[in-house]
């Protein structure tokens, strides 16, 4: 097996508790080297939700996050920080995106 064809990582998928308490395990996903997520198992009633979420993030060529205004910008302006799929920081960006906008995380 060549180094470039590293096997995908398998992660549990947790739904983050909004009101505290433990996060709930709702599925299992493969994380491929190109940052693509594939649902490999999970609670039947969460499967559609996870497929939808994974479809959303897989469709993005890069992931961005909002940041504070650049110097000189208006007080309430927001800027952007973007991470491409080939960036080593992509997984962290993906985790943040999943957490912030879908309330799920890989673990």
């Amino acid at each position: 097996m060549s180094d470039s064809a590293a096997p995908p990582d398998i992660f549990n998928v947790y739904e983050i508790a909004e009101e505290g308490g433990p996060d709930a395990l709702i599925g299992e996903a493969e994380y491929a080297a190109d940052g693509m997520l594939t649902l490999t198992g999970g609670l039947p009633d969460k499967a559609d939700f996870l497929r939808d979420v994974f479809g959303r993030v897989n469709a993005k060529a890069s992931l961005s996050k909002l940041i504070g205004p650049a110097p000189g910008a208006e007080r309430f302006a927001l800027g952007t920080e973007t991470v491409t799929r080939d960036d080593p920081a992509f997984f962290d960006a993906l985790q943040e995106y999943l957490t912030k906008y879908f309330g799920v995380r890989l673990g």
Partner: protein, 698 residues
């Protein structure tokens, strides 16, 4: 041990010089033993962590795909067991049947007797079938597990050894252990290092793979218990059954019961032993697939496991020579719970008289406590345990005195000038005096002398924090941070004590909990309104990059309206405007223009989730501005204390409204996000966006 004591804030004094003077060799051994103890404790924590992680993983496995088939089998198995249990409940009824049959036999009613016996026989046969089916399922599970018996047998012994070692390891590595007391210290250190090395070299998956199968057995344990109970219960009732056929049935059941019980008990025993010793289960599953095809890997890994077990056993034999003192574990457990509180009480150079008095009492308690703890008396932990309640009371008193002092400090910010003539009318404090008092209250002068401790500042009511901010700004000379200034000018502004103090107060100023709770409820209204058009919004979400500006605007306006209606504030007078800006800016809210601007040239223009977050973030700034405006008594709908929330939160927004009150990102990014206006927007934007995204995705 010294490591733990430091962790708990108890820096050990050197032990009192013993009489006669200590043997230098003994001292060396003792010091090394202490080092070994710390290592042992670390390893103990690691093992505990691995065990806890595994337990969680095992629980998590209930939904993993590998086990769905096992779950289905379990369900079927339990159905059979339930049948058996139900039948066992019928035993009493059938016992009555037997009594009736005997009575009928005595009265000569042979036909009725025959019918009742036949009925009982049907029940017996049905039950036998149920247990036969259950037995097959159990056999299947057993067979699946024993498929790997060759590997299992090799590893089982080692794991059993490790499992037996674990409690002993806990004894000597837990909080109460004092390995090295006695004659084993020096050797213990070396051996422990060797053990740690062996441990590091031994992949966790040796034991983890066992847990995969062990889990299946543990998973069936409850059902098995029910089955065994049901069988035992039914077997105990066998005497009521007449006839050779029934006896034969029960003979079969008895044999099966005993044989299966022996087999399964053995397997469960294995499961019990290996369960606490495992860690990353997913990794183990993957590793096992590879190892299963190559015996060499197993041999190699077993060799390492051998070393691990042998070293551990050797170490434990030595460590066990030193048994923990009575009450030692109890003491560390109890002290661990209050040590942070006590450390906080012990910290700080308090200048306030009441706090100093409380501190004196605390110091007395603390000194007595330390004296006992630092002694080498055998009963020191017992005596320290007795001292803990009084120490906690003394720490409580210090913390209360500090909070009272902080409140007095804040109340004195605007007190008459210290330079007021004695006997004469008080002279109002100058703005400079107020500024200086506020700086001292927030960060100390020089820092941290005289400052309200951060934890205490955080605990003060919002109006007290606002009072400090007001005193900082008294005279209007607080200099704004200019992010276009030179680097040196920016650094000077950043280091300005008053700006530092302002940042310290913002850091301690959390959003009003009641406001947040009310917003949480209203956020649900926002979602409910939007999900009325779920399909439309979902379509817009999916086609977002393809939508033209007009269509995007309609979607965002729908979100804006729902947000404003749900939360109870007005949309910006000039709504949403698409306006080309520099690509580094996504959009903003302009209070002067009362408009939310979206930049079509921004990098996130095609990202639906970020656009939604941006909109809710910016519209929250619109809301914050409206709340501040309502604090003006001349406002048509003035906000008063009677309407709280949001009154208190509005006061916080007002304290961070304009000019020098604002912290730009360039001054300090964390403080930028923590100032009240941003704290709220950075929190509510993603929360509201997330609620909508989850609603659309389900």
């Amino acid at each position: 041990m010294s490591g733990l004591l430091e962790t708990l804030g108890l820096k050990r004094k050197q032990p009192p010089a013993p009489v006669p003077p200590p043997d230098p060799k003994a001292q060396v051994i003792m010091i090394k033993a202490a080092g070994a103890s710390a290592k042992a404790r670390t390893a103990g924590v690691t093992l505990n962590g691995r065990r806890d992680a595994l337990r969680k993983e095992i629980e998590d496995l209930a939904i993993a795909k590998q086990y769905q088939q096992a779950e289905a089998k379990l369900t079927e198995f339990e159905r059979h067991v339930d049948g058996g249990v139900a039948w066992a409940g019928r035993a009493k009824e059938l016992a009555n049947t037997r009594t009736q049959a005997e009575q009928l036999q005595q009265t000569g009613d042979r036909k009725a007797e025959g019918m009742l016996k036949a009925l009982a026989q049907v029940e017996v046969e049905a039950n036998a079938l149920r247990f036969d089916n259950a037995g097959k399922l159990l056999d299947g599970t057993k067979a699946a597990v024993e498929k790997r018996v060759p590997e299992w047998r090799q590893v089982r012994l080692h794991n059993n050894e490790m499992a037996k070692l674990k409690p002993r390891l806990d004894n000597v590595t837990g909080p109460g252990g004092i390995p090295g007391r006695g004659d084993g210290g020096h050797a213990l250190q070396n051996e422990w290092q060797a053990f740690e090395a062996a441990l590091a070299d031994c992949p966790a998956n040796v034991t983890d793979t066992i847990a995969v199968d062990a889990y299946k057995l543990v998973f069936h344990r409850e059902a098995l218990t029910k089955a065994l109970d049901a069988l035992a219960n039914a077997y105990g009732k066998k005497t009521f059954l007449p006839g050779d056929a029934a006896d034969e049935q029960w003979g079969w059941s008895e044999r099966e019961y005993k044989a299966r019980r022996t087999q399964l008990s053995s397997l469960l025993q294995k499961a019990k032993y290996v369960k606490p010793l495992t860690a990353e289960l997913e990794e183990a599953v993957a590793e096992f697939a590879a190892m299963d095809t190559g015996g060499a890997t197993w041999v190699e890994m077993l060799t390492k496991l051998d070393a691990k077990a042998a070293k551990a056993q050797q170490l434990l034999r030595m460590a066990e020579r030193a048994q923990p003192l009575p009450d030692e574990q109890k003491f560390f457990a109890a002290y661990g719970k209050i040590s942070e509180w006590v450390k906080t009480a012990a910290a700080n150079d308090d200048t306030d008289d009441q706090t100093k008095n409380a501190k004196t009492e605390f110091n007395n308690q603390w000194g007595a406590f330390r004296e006992i703890l630092d002694s080498w008396d055998d009963d020191r932990f017992t005596r320290c345990l007795e001292k803990l309640p009084a120490l906690k009371v003394a720490a409580d008193a210090v913390m209360k005195a500090r909070r009272d002092a902080a409140l007095r400090t804040v109340d004195a910010l605007n007190a008459p000038s210290a330079s007021s003539p004695s006997g004469g009318p008080p002279v109002p404090a100058s703005n400079a005096e107020k500024n200086a008092r506020a700086v001292k209250a927030a960060i100390g002068d020089p820092p941290p002398a005289g400052a309200i401790p951060p934890a205490v500042l955080k605990s003060l009511p919002a109006d007290k924090k606002i009072a400090i901010l007001d005193a900082l700004k008294a005279g209007g000379t607080l200099v704004p941070f200019n992010d276009n200034a030179s680097d040196s000018a920016q650094q000077a502004a950043r280091d300005n004590p008053r700006r530092k103090a302002q940042r310290a107060v913002y850091a301690a100023m959390d959003l009003d909990e009641r406001f947040v709770e009310a917003e949480e409820i209203d956020r649900r209204k926002v979602l409910d309104a939007l999900l009325q058009d779920k399909e439309e919004l979902k379509k817009a979400r999916d086609e977002w990059p393809l939508l033209g500006q007009d269509d995007r605007k309609k979607v965002l306006e729908k979100l804006l309206k729902a947000h404003c209606d749900g939360m109870g504030f007005k949309a910006p007078a000039n709504g949403i405007k698409f306006e080309d800006q520099d690509a580094s800016t996504n959009g903003d809210y302009l209070p002067g223009g009362d408009v939310i601007r979206i930049n079509p040239k921004s990098r996130i223009y095609d990202d639906f989730e970020l656009q939604v977050d941006l909109l809710f973030h910016e519209n929250s700034h619109n809301w914050q501005g409206q709340l501040v405006n309502r604090l003006d008594p001349s406002h048509p709908n003035p906000l008063t204390p009677a309407e709280d929330p949001p009154y208190t939160q509005a006061l916080m927004f007002q304290s961070n409204n304009a000019g020098a009150e604002i912290i730009p990102p360039a001054e300090d990014y964390a403080s930028y996000q923590k100032q009240p206006w941003e704290d709220h927007s950075w929190s509510t934007g993603p929360k509201t966006a997330r609620m909508l995204m989850k609603g659309l995705a389900t």
